[in-house]
Symmetry: C2
């Protein structure tokens, strides 16, 4: 599976930028018994309440974490891009507390829980590095709390677009021009704590102001600076200095 090894090598490069890696540690990570898993858009990779028996690394495509309230409304909690473990929690917690769903057709690399747990206990450096990733995820959750709790619909929408842009850029999946965003306005609404009708109005007005354009599922950002301004976006919380190779 060439795709899997490409993503693994990318991750190792990211790790080595953070901390020197012994060959033994590196190989232990690379030699995990990953098995490919390909799923269609909308499939569930993890369901709330499930006992988890494996961890999955996203290799290609996009997925998202999601939770439903008792009255049936949905909140999207974060977006996963290739190189993200979507359920590393599996190896450490017992039951899933939320759902993970494929946004597009996705390819995952799956490892049994036991192998992952063994790796983490026998190779503290690897554990340390993956822990950093989960701490960055937590930082992103915190920013989403701020975004939904304290920014109005306009700023909130811009903030999400800034975050995604920067993350995809750092992963080499976007240029400064823009990026592909295969989400419906309803999914965006569920990520923003808004309704799809209102997301639609926000996009229209941002387009009218010349901030961005939409071409199919591709977002072209015409004015990054203004977008950041409207969003009140400060990228420190992404800890990209931890996520990008410092060559």
């Amino acid at each position: 599976m060439p795709e899997i090894t490409a993503v693994l090598n990318r991750m190792v490069a990211k790790f080595e930028a953070r901390m020197p890696l012994e060959p033994g540690d590196r190989d232990a990570f690379l030699n995990l018994p990953f098995k490919p898993l390909i799923v269609d858009a909308h499939s569930y990779i993890v369901r709330e309440g499930q006992t988890l028996s494996r961890s999955a690394l996203l290799v290609a495509g996009l997925s998202y974490r999601q939770k439903l309230t008792v009255d049936g409304s949905r909140q999207i909690l974060c977006l996963n891009i290739p190189g993200d473990f979507v359920d590393l929690e599996a190896s450490l917690l017992n039951r899933a507390d939320h759902n993970v769903q494929a946004l597009t057709r996705c390819e995952f690399a799956v490892v049994p829980r036991a192998d992952m747990k063994k790796l983490l206990l026998e190779h503290p450096v690897i554990a340390h590095l993956l822990w950093v990733d989960t701490l960055i995820d937590a930082s992103i959750y915190r920013e989403w709390i701020v975004n939904i709790g304290r920014r109005d619909a306009r700023a909130r929408t811009c903030h999400l677009l800034c975050e995604l842009g920067r993350r995809l850029q750092a992963a080499g999946l976007a240029t400064t021009r823009g990026y592909e965003l295969p989400m419906t306005q309803e999914q965006l609404a569920d990520a923003l704590g808004l309704t799809s009708v209102h997301v639609n109005r926000m996009f229209r007005s941002l387009e009218n102001e010349g901030l961005l354009r939409r071409e199919k599922r591709f977002i072209v950002i015409d004015d990054w600076e203004k977008l950041r301004d409207v969003a009140g976006f400060n990228e420190n919380y992404l800890h990209l200095e931890q996520a990008t190779r410092q060559d």
Copy 2:
């Protein structure tokens, strides 16, 4: 420092319920060079942007994580109770991405970053256990996103009260009758993404319905079941079973 050792023993007991602990691991944790740090209410323990040189374990009192937007509004991100590390991130990330502030007068046990990092690399089991704690924190952040994004003011307020109640109970700091909540309505509003005026109205109406009573800073829950119902509260996300031995 009898307080510190009491909290440390409590943590070790929690750890041992999760996973067998070698004496060497246990002692390494207990023998960390903790230094007491006492701060007044409202003091900052961590400031956004700071380079972190130490980790702090909350021993007594309550603190909270908080972030400000460019236009000056504040969002509280979580509450810390005794036994929580308030900046374990310090040992793994470089810069603080949010503020940590004392809600009441607090006592912390502080460890230099280097000692903590050494412990985590030399004692993978301890690292593993502390990692679980940070994953539970992340789960709580996710639930806050749902709470703020998808629940109305009434349910949202009840949800926060349920969460706090259960967490404090699990820490032995609350009975089923109720608990002390030393937060102003403005602070509650900042935690809920509401205004203090509206929090006030929510509390009044919950009181009128006989769900709860407030006596100074003490919350008496008269009807837990109804409170949980209104909140749509499902405590799985708190992973309280992690206080019980598994596999």
